[in-house]
Amino acid sequence: MPETLLAPLRRLGGRVVHSVWRLGLATRFFFLTLLYSGTCVRRPHLVVKEIFSAGVLSLIIILVSGLFVGMVLGLQGYETLQTYGSEEALGILVALSLVRELGPVVAALLFASRAGSAMTAEIGLMKATEQISALEMMAVDPIARVVAPRFWGGVISMPLLAALFSAMGIFGGYLVGVVLIGVDEGAFWSQMQAAVDFRDDILNGVIKSVVFGVVVTVIALYEGYDAPPTAEGVSRATTRTVVSSSLAILAWDFVLTSFMFRGV
């Protein structure tokens, strides 16, 4: 076969092998993180500190976005529902879309860009400034001391942020639907209460957000840990974190949804 044909094939093959290789390394990294999580149990304040930086510091963007997404849902939902004369069902529409889909997914996307990128940059810079090496030389395992607390901080924060996102969204829908447009308040809340199931809707939403939390933090931490210790390396790793975790969130969302709601 001529060289002109072989070269692109070789490049493609190289890329595939490289991607599979990185996926394998990331998986090993994930299991190592779980294995070295004992420190987090013995010293919970390490995790609390990370819940603050990943969770509490992301609150503003999550709450404001949640409110606006809910308000838009209220407007759009009312537009469509009133065509069929069923605008009282607005509460159901807002609550189900948020709890099942938008809450976990949009909160995770925001979490990836706000907290995930920060984790990657922080760990990448710790590596570039030899702080990770310093930990190793001080006989402190960096996975146990730096990675695992951030992992658990992210995994615990994510469902809480998604829940707050959904709650703010429902409040936004209420503001637009009931306060502004004048949908009946009793119908709005009672229909929502009757239609939203704890196990099928809320619990499934929580499961999704836990999975997204694991996916985003593992990608963010691995990219930071694997980043070449240069300014360019860290900046590329940060970009990769946002791109890969956003795609991973959407892919996992499809997979999880198809398992959870197939009977509906």
């Binding site: 702080q131 090496s133 030389m137 001080m138 006989a139 402190v140």
Partner: protein
């Protein structure tokens, strides 16, 4: 107990296909300050990482306090590292912690000492490097020289038997330079440590060290006491000690013929 704290025999190391160190033999006796000198990229830092167990030798052995570093398991290596300190080139202080917390870090990680005792120890270590007054500062508020002194206080927090210094003099002003050299000597003598200093600062290190190894292109090319080194007639050592531009280490990186590259060869 052997008199030699660090002993390296016939050590070679290669990154995949590139040979970095070859046939290194080196000894550091207890209580000595030993310098490893050479130009940038000669494998000095790699040697330090081999002693610290962050890399494994391709051939040969590294013994620290009688233990072969390359053969230790994870737990054994971490046990050994608790008795080693390492000072990184730019300090590698944890940027999210204050000076005090940086120095207290190892004490909190490896001991169950009460906080009052940790406080006393931290203040003692900071006092030894003259920075007790800077305990509340953050690393971003320190000058390069101060950051390295804090890192030194952190490295001696657990009273190690060996401290390795990676380029402790690089980028320091003349006052900080003198202070750093003085500290290395004084701490080694008063705390009964052994110090390994990787450096290319000849004048400062010759003042304080007991023995010098010169590495060039991964091989030890000369060794001796500071007096031997100053008097050495070996071309490489002479060029290095006197800072001459050209010599065995050429000014020019290998390149094709200049005239030819400019297209003037046939003009």
């Amino acid at each position: 107990m052997s008199d030699n704290l660090v002993e390296i025999r016939d050590l070679s190391f290669a990154y995949t296909d590139r040979l970095v160190l070859q046939g290194i033999n080196l000894t550091a006796r207890r209580g000595q300050v030993v310098a490893i000198m050479g130009n940038s990229g000669c494998g000095k830092t790699t040697l330090m990482r081999l002693i610290g167990g962050q890399l494994k030798p391709t051939r040969g052995k590294v013994w620290v306090d009688g233990q072969s570093v390359g053969d230790l398991d994870f737990a054994g290596l971490y046990r050994l590292r608790r008795r080693m300190g390492m000072l990184f080139q730019f300090g590698a202080l944890f940027t999210d912690m204050s000076v005090y917390d940086n120095v207290a870090f190892q004490l909190r990680e490896h001991t169950d000492l009460p906080e009052e005792m940790i406080r006393d120890l931290v203040l003692m270590k900071l006092n030894a490097v003259g920075l007790r007054g800077a305990q509340d500062l953050m690393p971003s508020e320190l000058s390069g020289g101060m950051a390295r002194r804090v890192a030194l206080a952190r490295a001696i927090a657990l009273d190690p038997m060996l401290i390795m210094y990676d380029e402790p003099f690089a980028g320091l002003d003349p006052i900080s330079l003198g202070v750093a050299g003085d500290l290395i000597r004084r701490l080694t003598d008063t705390l009964g440590l052994t110090s390994l200093v990787v450096t290319h600062d000849v004048q400062e290190s010759l003042k304080i060290v007991d023995y010098v190894y010169f590495i060039s292109e991964g091989v030890i090319v000369a060794q001796g006491t500071p007096q031997d080194i100053r008097a050495s007639e070996l071309p490489y050592v002479h060029q290095f000690v006197h800072g001459e531009e050209d010599g065995p280490v050429p000014f020019h990186h290998p390149a094709p013929d200049y005239a030819e590259e400019l297209g003037l060869a046939h003009a």
